[in-house]
Symmetry: C2
């Protein structure tokens, strides 16, 4: 038994049981992976993969239990490396942040600027994607931390911590009928075409929910993941924009009228997520604390520790 075998098995599962894909992803030969997996199965005395002839079609029951254990082992192997780096080169390394456009564009700049001052030797990388991709990247270890407003708290192996709350705003061009209103209502907004975020982005579920609760079904003519795109189309007169309040800049956005909409849509909570069981570098804690000052190292560690160790993948 060796670590390569575990990596091969994990990757094969991640690549939907396609061994050829797995070999490619691991930059090695496909027959090598095949052989190592066979030998691993022989050593354990059980098959991990159900085969139809020569194709892998599913995981066997022992295979499902083994996968959970293998994931934990490989996570801990990563942790060994991180401990080493943390002591050998505490102020250098790499920090990968998975996040959505809105966070990257509006919430993170000041945090990242401050972080770079303190840790100039840390290479930062931003993985941008939709909230479920953010969750996936953190779960798989491709990103160290995830920042998003949605879908981070549905995973057992993800520790999602509230970072800050925010509300939406409504923007319209100055010549729009709504621009003359003093205060807006959901009904008033729903009377016009709406431009807002794509499904599952930036509090979109709260927007839909608020309208649905009042029996309204607004005509959403355009969606984007990107506040700037939304504002641009609102300026063009495509419709009423609903965006995160932080995305409105009175200086820049002079050709838009903005209404705070905190009373119309529920409050949103942006969360920071880390993989449960992952060893976090000192600078990772520093980044999280800089992003959300109340998320001190101790608080994060508590949250990571505080729960049951149930693992849905293994019946045990």
């Amino acid at each position: 038994m060796n670590l390569q075998q575990l990596r091969y098995v994990r990757e094969t599962v991640r690549r939907k049981l396609n061994l050829t894909d797995a070999a490619r992803a691991l930059h090695t030969s496909q027959p090598g992976v095949s052989k190592q997996i066979r030998e691993f199965e022989e050593e354990l005395g059980v098959d991990i993969f159900e085969r139809h002839g020569r194709r892998f079609v599913s995981l066997t029951p022992p295979g499902q239990e083994l996968i959970g254990i293998i994931d934990r082992i490989l996570l801990e192997i990563d942790n060994l490396r991180r401990v080493g780096e943390n002591y050998a080169a505490g102020d250098s390394g790499r920090l990968t942040i998975a996040t959505t456009h809105t966070q990257a564009r509006y919430a993170l700049p000041r945090v990242i600027a401050a972080f770079r001052e303190h840790y100039p030797k840390v290479r930062l990388s931003l993985q941008q994607g939709n909230p479920s991709a953010v969750a996936r990247w953190v779960l798989s270890g491709e990103a160290d931390i995830g920042i998003a407003t949605e879908s981070l708290d549905h995973f057992d192996d993800l520790v999602a911590l509230p970072a800050y709350t925010w509300t939406h705003s409504v923007v319209v061009p100055p010549d729009h009928p709504l621009a003359r209103e003093k205060a807006l209502t959901l009904e008033a907004i729903a009377a016009y075409p709406v431009v807002t975020y794509s499904k599952e982005f930036t509090g979109r579920s709260h927007i839909d929910g608020a309208f649905a609760d009042r029996g309204l079904s607004p005509d959403i003519v355009l969606t984007a993941i990107d506040s700037d795109v939304i504002k641009t189309y609102v300026e063009l007169g495509l419709g009423v924009g609903i965006i995160a309040s932080v995305a409105f800049d009175p200086e820049r956005d002079r050709q838009l009228k903005c209404f705070g909409a905190s009373g119309l849509f529920p409050i949103n909570t942006t969360r920071v997520a880390v993989r449960r069981g992952a060893y976090l570098r000192d600078f990772t804690f520093a980044f999280i604390e800089s992003f959300a000052p109340e998320l001190l190292r101790e608080r994060v560690l508590e949250a990571m520790a505080d729960r049951q160790m149930t693992d849905p993948t293994s019946p045990q």
Copy 2:
């Protein structure tokens, strides 16, 4: 990085930083261990062992963090094997039970007899020792389960479950002055020499505690780990015997008079312990349930999962 390196490091720590001992225990050459550990340290970029010249004197701070992780990895590696065995040969294997004399002699026989009927192909081995050895064996993985009345609930990585409760009895020879009493008191017992269990065995702490609470300090003339030995010396007139009630057999022990002492000494709880995070074979659950019927598989799993994942060895 490979698994051997992790085994070498763990064993070296277990052998009090004596690398020569570790190599011997792992049936390999000492220079091989030395080299692998060096290479492992180089790969991580940190020293694990503090050296004075060429001797290992302590763990470095990163070393302490690493050890915790390494222990978890190697535990999970064992778990992989056990999953394999559980599926490949569900009804055969080996079950090692660490326990004390009293349990082995009085509580376990019926359980083991029943177990052998259900699982004739499982090799059983009893590791007999004092309660802290029992704890140590389970913690290190040398035993699968531990059964004892004391000192099992002081370890974070040990899950100790109450199995049954019991009380002490007092035995005296028929010609002893106490034999004529109707009921005994601690004061009456303390007036005579006492023969009972060795330190930390079979509820001894409760015996000492009960006397101490009354300001009594009985003259304990002989201690043994073994009820049969105690009874033998009581028969010889060495003193008053205090033993576990189960150890008195009215048939066999006709030359002794026995008083129940449940009112004199606190109730004792015998516990079953397993290593937290260990994968337990089906027959291990069966054994536990047969020993203590209320400890169903589900209950055991709950107890193993239900706690914080804090690890005292790693600051993280």
